[in-house]
Symmetry: D2
Subunit: 438 residues, 4 copies
């Protein structure tokens, strides 16, 4: 690998970008990024301009030896890149708002990664991701594609099964959970480890280690105390207060997204209340973003603004940049990433993309073997993975019938008429992105 690295960030107009920049600048010594290509599309020109300005100011303040390019010429950015980071949102927050609103009309949770909303997002996103991968295959075949774009597990499923690109999918949840656990136990995060079994936004934690010893029972005990002071220490998993009988039966920690599967009625009511009140998540985020970009545009600002932390992307930068650092410097560290199963979960499809602990080094990510799934969650994991595989296939083939059966196979759907009506409304709502289904 070259001494001077070229990074391409696709969807650089995102409000998260300063996170990433900060991460790059903090690791200048171990990670010699020399070229940073910030890529977006014309619709994002204004945001890209603001982000580029802030990036330049941050780089200068950090005394970094870094060429910064802002461009809409994606292939040029990808050519000979060492790392391509994807964090784009096809259709922007307007599309997200539809992902959140449409399912609710049918009495189904509206969410941009889990459920029909995530399905719709995947159907829009995968074609763009495929184009990016074709560019990488042609212009920088040895590049690593680090994918953040949601739904991250489904997108990585698409990249690893339909292209030749070397890619690792990322989500901030696992890292945030470990941070939360460290806070809960009042220990250095480095002393905490955890096993993750399952898929992105669908992974269970059957063991938590403090200095290598499994302390899950102690963690569950703390959860049980239902002490507000303790729960304040949790950020990613703060509002997950399960009854004792759930924790006893599960015998594992769950991800925040498991609430859609195990507390669906509560979540549905909450989403409806949000929509009637402060607005769905996209609407709230839109406001936050507006404020953030005002700050970013301020020529006096040359560090990552504090306010970004409220945006919800805690640990994003660290997850990504520490992963890239581990690859580049062959660190052989364990990170929790999305990658091909290949037997790591023995009773799940060999080629399926899973979220698991993996050893990271210059050769990429090698999953740690997990054995068989705990039976009480195996059915759900199978069902969700199958739904994801069908979604990816439909998105790649642009098949209407495939999309319909994929959506129908989601655990959130139990009614074909509803699935069809919802899909048809999604297509009508996104003519530019889903109009090509046939």
């Amino acid at each position: 690998m070259k001494a001077g690295l070229k990074f391409a960030v696709i969807g650089a107009g995102s409000s998260y970008t300063p996170e990433l920049i900060e991460g790059i600048l903090q690791r200048q010594e171990s990670l010699p990024v020399r070229e940073l290509w910030l890529v977006d599309i014309p619709a994002g020109a204004k945001k890209l301009e603001i982000i580029t300005g802030l990036t330049r100011r941050m780089a200068q303040a950090a005394g970094a030896n870094l060429e910064i390019h802002a461009t809409m010429d994606r292939p040029e950015a990808i050519r000979d890149a060492d790392f391509v980071i994807t964090q784009f949102r096809v259709g922007g927050l307007d599309a997200r708002e539809k992902d959140e609103r449409i399912p609710l009309k049918y009495g189904i949770i509206g969410q941009e990664t889990t459920g029909p909303g995530g399905f719709c997002k995947a159907m829009r996103t995968i074609p763009v991701l495929m184009e990016i991968c074709r560019d990488i295959e042609a212009l920088s075949p040895n590049a690593w594609l680090i994918n953040f774009t949601n739904p991250s597990g489904i997108n990585t499923e698409a990249v690893l099964n339909y292209t030749k690109v070397r890619s690792i999918g990322l989500c901030n949840i696992p890292l945030c959970m470990k941070r939360d656990l460290a806070r809960l136990l009042d220990v250095d995060p480095k002393r905490i480890d955890a096993d993750f079994v399952g898929l992105n936004h669908m992974s269970f934690v059957p063991a938590v280690y403090l200095d290598g010893e499994d302390i899950l029972p102690r963690v569950l005990e703390l959860y049980r105390q239902d002490d507000p002071a303790l729960h304040e220490k949790l950020e990613a998993i703060s509002d997950i207060v399960w009854p004792d009988s759930f924790l006893d039966g599960m015998g594992m920690l769950t991800s925040p997204y498991h609430r859609y599967f195990y507390a669906n009625r509560m979540m549905l009511e909450q989403e409806k209340a949000d929509l009637a009140g402060p607005g769905c998540r996209a609407m709230q985020v839109r406001k936050v973003e507006h404020e953030l970009f005002e700050i970013y545009a301020d020529q006096a600002v040359h560090t990552k603004p504090k306010q970004l932390e409220q945006r919800g992307g805690a640990c994003y930068s660290e997850a990504a940049i520490s992963l890239i650092d581990a690859i580049y410097n062959d660190r052989k560290e364990v990170h929790t990433v999305n990658l091909k199963n290949r037997g790591a979960i023995a009773d799940l499809d060999y080629d399926a993309v899973i979220e698991a602990n993996a050893l990271i080094g210059r050769r990429g990510a090698v999953p740690l073997t997990l054995g068989k799934m705990p039976r009480h969650v195996a059915g759900l994991i199978h069902a969700v993975k199958t739904y994801e595989q069908l979604t990816v296939q439909a998105a790649v083939e642009r098949s209407y019938e495939g999309a319909l059966m994929a959506l129908m196979s989601s655990p959130f759907l139990d009614d074909f008429a509803t699935a069809k009506a919802m899909l048809d409304e999604m297509i009508a709502a996104h003519p530019d992105y889903l109009g090509d289904l046939h």
Copy 2:
């Protein structure tokens, strides 16, 4: 195997019994039943008496050489039996009514095999089935247990994984579907075959054969015509009128019970309407049963009354007696039965009980290899099978926590609070049967 056979029928007070008797009497030449033991419990004494009387009159009318015993001494009936037929209903129709009513309160379909109702029935039934199996292990270890008792797939899962009894699980749906198809195509049923992939009340039909040629496309075309005259010919599958897009996407025939998974909203409304109107299924059946037993008690009646056919058990007798005949006479015929997977479905748990075509002979049932599941239904089959395995384990271990997680893992549940409330109500409603969960 002995020349003169001993049959024990457990739950002989059932209104279906005359079906079975008729089947036995029709096959006197090939199936030399010499002892028929009709077994029930004290609560069923009256019904057993009526059934025994009718059975004697039917046997006499048929000139059968058959000893008929009515007893409440189950071990005595099982001792040295060649075939034990189980068709009992723990808690009777009163319990069934609860299975149908309780889930509806929670906005979930109430049904005695699929969903929470079937779960509750399994939790009541499996302990009794285990006792019967212990008797068989001790008193007639070479006997065949032919299980009809619903939920048939779950019960067979329990028998084959928790006892040493040789057993085959039966359901009339596959045979009825083949009959319906023959009627639809106006051909002799013997010319019709079909593949079945999946589980009891959860099996899909990826191919229909007429004289060995796959005519599924032709069948789907007939379905599409939506011609009332055609649909009249269908009994088991008469009211399954899926939209074309569903049939196109599925590319398989479905079982009647798939409506709970793919047309849940319609089914839920229908159940609610039934309950508000003519009553839930248990209430309707109670009336039919009452009428049937009046007829059975009539000393002038010495054949199976026509009215029994309305009861819903079409093909039951034929399914059971033709299966027994195929075993006893080593016929090497293909029947659709419930049995251990052992790789027949390559990507499903090895020890899981599946519903599949199997070659039947004196050595029992050997499944025909099916390969991998079609992906668009694999997730659902995995999810349901996992739920079934968890239910069996909880029922055998009498575990409250296990039962809760089993119920939670059903595709019909997406909310832990709901699952817990429903389970607690079930336990309260069935103190004699579920009070021992701990």
Copy 3:
């Protein structure tokens, strides 16, 4: 399927052909063959002429309504055929003699199906088989290819994994074994069944059924008696007299070819003695063939000569024609054939070709599920199957390196220098057939 069938026999100049003809003529009523195309290559012109003459006389004597065509135009014969039967020998008996002689030089058994001889034969045969399959794909895509050509298991592995042709591989051993068992027990062969687990010339018999009851212990007891009168009744397995400790440990019957794996030293000595005495098998067969063709050429002969039975192909005709009859008439009978595994043996490669009992009908062959392999033979079956898959791949790709590693992976080889020397000698001995390896 048409009422009048067209058969194409590739390698019709074989001395076995009259067997096949007799079979066809005996089943005229159920199997309406109207066109019989006898195909061979120029080198076999003389033999083809003799066989064609005999075939015409046999057909006439049987009063058959049958067009007989002799041709070297293989595509013409294949066009619109219903069944293509392959029984050719690339390189004839001269090549076979080399297959038997070359390995012996290296102290390894020389045999035309098992071991290096079979490897060499497969390397010669598969390219021709691929050409035939390309013809079938283009000219008669619905035809069934019934393959007899040895090594039958390896060749079927090639056809089913590298072409789209519908094919079933056949060997006479399983049928002969069942015949022998019937003779041993003095019962009608129809009452005998047996399970077969494994591969062609590598299948074990874990159960023998008489009227559906497992009588393997009784059979093993008879074997143990070592009574010449009993062993005379065995033809296929007559000379397999294993010590009691072998039978006890194995707990299964073995195939005649297992002697090469479990009594290798004896077999090697026997082959060496044969070569020094009456000649290797090819040399003996050559003499028999010469005599047979003299008889065939006799215009007075119009039935299958008795002498053919000594040739070693007992049951061949019955195996093939009864299989074709079962397909054509959708008989749903169990035959032992070579076909894709698809989970039938749960712990063997999904796509591997195995030899197993299968239900035969118009839709082809569906294997009966066998579960997991007995552990004490699993290693050998895995090793042989891997060797076969590597051989097929090398034969299709014409790879020298692939061929070398395939040969090296045979359980008969434990020395790379020996493998290389032997392969190089094979190539030198068969420049026309193996000269293209690269």
Copy 4:
């Protein structure tokens, strides 16, 4: 884990023990061993005394805070131990000599780990290992058993499948190979990594990494040069000079023990020549041991003598002590060890013990996922693993028939009469150790 550790070394009279002691003394800071229990049996009393003396002198010279106990009371040594290290040899070098001589009589390689010699050793060793494990289960259930005793893979298979003891099996070959590669490439060993696929003494190296980049092609190129100066740098793999065609076909590095499978004839000749000349390996080792113990007994010696390195156990100490250090200090380092598969090799038995890279920490060893085996070695790995599983089962059950079938299933055996004669001779030669087979 306690701050002061207790180690028990079973078979401490071994000439290797000073290696281990040196390793312990070198890591005093990170590995606080406070009690060292040296255990042997009465037959080894003299050696144990000498070793204990040397150990005390070494500890004193190193200024170690270490209680040293020499005992024949194994349970006392095991009670509350943190680490139990097994390195015993049942029957000593006399038994080893028989392992090496007996197979040679039958024309089969005689070797104490691979082939019939290793089989015989396993049959003697496993019962003792089971006794040790029963002690650990009762007296120190949280102890780690680090097994060196050969055949290490088979013994670990026994421990992990027939006891509840937490155990990791060790061999020095993988570490030595990495050392050799570092020497060959003239780089720091820390920069070298390698993948290992397979079993102990049967693992292949499909990739070698220098700083995380796969440099296997470069290594194979160096091998090809056949330059004595290069080969001198290799110790563990020095004499493995394969022809280019082997390396091309294999596309992997092999273990030294693969010579028995891929260059059997050469190895057999070499063993015969050794026996006729300097003596078999046991005889040579006996001489070396004698000399070593003379040195060990010298009161002036208080460090590990240089001469021990010739004994053949290079890297043993480092393999063991660095592994223990990684466990105790939760280092999350990758070591190559023997452990349960659990899907790491996707197409090998789930419960099989394999040799693989694993992440080592306080929780033990978690294998890195390897995917499917390269097909050209899959058959051999399957065959050897099956043989090992059968051997373990026979050793645990003390079954003569099981032992016979296990031996027969070894890839080195192809003749039942030979297997039986050899087994009977082994039993006769080891009445005390194998006389209980029944």
